[in-house]
């Protein structure tokens, strides 16, 4: 057999060994990113008069390592629409998504879709590096009297058991923990 062909067979055998066995083995050593989100919410006042506005501020971040995504999911069960809810300032890089009642909403983890029962705001950073602590400031003007509730939760990716925040408290319709804040409108 031609010497070049023989040499080619040998070289290709080594190539396949390296690319099919050594390369995947080296890739499998890549450290898996385990990230955990967190946030702190703050609001200036506990109650307001009808027609007045208040600021709702969320300081978010992650622990562990750089994350492929940090998402804040903010629900407004006592609002009928986003008419009285505005983003005053945001350090999140992706465009926010506003889901009105009846819209199809991505649930992220597990990856599925659901129908929004109340207005939901999704706001993201993709990726979110470990030292990035984005702040979101909302200006809210409740439309009706009584309690105005705000449900906030955060997720980070890749998803693990540690990728949801908060870890306890009130449970929403997705059977996930949310931080519940209430303001009284009188």
């Amino acid at each position: 057999m031609n010497r070049i062909i023989l040499a080619s067979i040998g070289i290709m055998a080594v190539y396949f060994l390296v690319m099919g066995v050594v390369f995947p083995d080296a890739l499998s050593q890549t450290e898996k990113r385990i990230t955990s989100p967190f946030f702190i919410t703050s609001q200036e006042i506990e109650s307001i008069s009808k027609g007045e506005s208040f600021d709702f501020i969320i300081d978010a971040g992650i622990t562990g390592s750089d994350s492929d995504m940090l998402i804040l999911i903010i629900g407004f069960p006592d609002a009928k629409s986003f008419d009285g809810i505005k983003i005053k300032s945001s350090e999140f890089t992706q465009s926010p998504k506003f889901f009105e009642i009846g819209d199809e909403v991505k649930t992220y983890y597990p990856s599925d879709f659901k129908i929004a029962e109340y207005p939901l705001l999704h706001i993201f950073n993709m990726p979110n590096l470990i030292d990035k602590k984005p702040i979101l400031q909302l200006e809210i003007t409740p439309e009706s009297l009584g309690e105005f509730r705000i449900f906030t939760k955060a997720k980070s990716a890749p998803f693990t058991d540690d990728s949801n925040f908060p870890k306890g408290g009130f449970v929403d319709e997705d059977n996930e923990f949310v931080e519940k804040k209430v303001i009284l409108v009188d």
Binding site: S8, F23, A26, L27
Partner: protein
């Protein structure tokens, strides 16, 4: 002395005629390279803007191609003897599609928001890229063959890589799950996508590389250089933008091995059916050459996991050890089609 003057004049005339086709092809290389970088940015979910770096490279590529197309019409003595009517027509159609795809894409974004990889407008853009790059290759090869001169291994390799990326754009569109948007779901069915990728990627590779060798018969280096440019552009546009893939670069460089071997077999071995042997070597390496994007295709059919950018190494490593022997064999077989097309196409290009 007279012979010397005649040679210099011929050389000057050769470059004057061939340079517009080189510019045309280099524009497409920028368009496809920018497009590949843009896909990476979408994978990394980087915020999209009209003036993002990949977009600027893409627009400048279109502008350069338009300049090249305009230069095709500069009157030069003896130009008509090169049989360039077909590449000129093809480039006209290609440039037309490239130019109209801009406003059409803007309209599509306005109507339907963000678009996926496969959309009618992107198909128009990709067709424009493909026709323009083929026109560039046909023009250059015909001028070279009539004038018995070459533009050189570097320029030819670069221009051929433009055709390669243009064809790859089509193959990606029908095999990657990047085409689901709020309005349309153009994602390919996972099993179809995996079979399509397994057959079409080796065909594309064998077709481009065997053609690049066949239009420069007996000259070592043309095939390898085309392969080297593909690897370079992939490293710059698909590996380096994703921090978790930087460690994969040294391994990815090893993909040059099958290309150099194929080049040696075609130009040095003097065996029968050398193009088919070379094609099989090239095609059998497709699963490694199309890393990292191919991870998404096979993940859909094997694991159906959500592939975050940081998880590409892990998911690729999980499936590759299981299926690579099968894919190597499939790639080698599929490459026969690419080689047959390459041998026929190169004959048509030269005549």
């Amino acid at each position: 002395m007279t012979e010397q003057i005649s040679k210099t004049k011929n050389s000057f005339s050769f470059w004057k005629i061939v340079i517009p086709y080189i510019i045309l092809g280099m524009g497409v290389v920028l368009v496809t390279g920018g497009g590949s970088w843009d896909i990476s940015n979408h994978i990394l979910n980087k915020p999209e803007s009209f003036f993002a770096e990949p977009h600027l490279i893409l627009y400048s590529g279109v502008a350069i191609s338009i300049v090249g197309f305009g230069a095709l019409f500069i009157p030069i003595r003896n130009k008509n003897s090169f049989n360039l009517k077909f590449p000129k027509l093809l480039s006209g159609l290609g440039i037309f599609l490239l130019v109209i795809s801009g406003p059409l894409d803007f309209w599509w974004h306005d109507m339907y928001g963000l678009d996926g990889l496969l959309s009618p407008i992107h198909l128009v853009l990709m067709t424009g890229m493909l026709l323009t790059s083929i026109a560039s290759v046909v023009g250059i090869v015909r001028i070279e063959s009539k004038s018995k001169r070459k533009i050189g291994v570097i320029l030819q390799g670069l221009i051929f890589s433009g055709v390669w990326f243009s064809l790859t754009g089509f193959a990606h569109s029908f095999s990657l799950p990047f085409s689901k948007t709020d309005y349309f779901d153009f994602n390919p069915e996972p099993t179809f996508a995996a079979i399509f990728a397994t057959i079409v990627y080796p065909i594309v590779m064998a077709f481009i590389l065997i053609t690049s060798a066949k239009v420069s018969p007996g000259k070592f280096g043309y095939l390898s250089t085309t392969g080297a440019f593909y690897i370079l552009i992939m490293i710059l546009s698909a590996l380096l933008p994703n921090p978790v893939l930087i460690d994969a670069v040294p391994f990815y460089l090893l993909n040059l091995i099958p290309f150099v071997l194929a080049d040696v077999i075609i130009n040095k071995s003097q065996i029968k059916k050398s193009h088919f042997v070379a094609g099989a070597i090239i095609g059998s390496s497709f699963i490694f050459s199309y890393f990292p994007l191919i991870t998404y295709t096979y993940n859909e059919v094997m694991f159906h996991r959500l592939v975050w950018p940081s998880m590409i190494p892990m998911i690729y490593s999980e499936f590759i050890v299981v299926i690579f022997p099968l894919l190597v064999a499939c790639g080698a077989v599929s490459s026969i089609i690419g080689t047959v097309i390459a041998l026929r196409a190169s004959r048509r290009i030269i005549t």
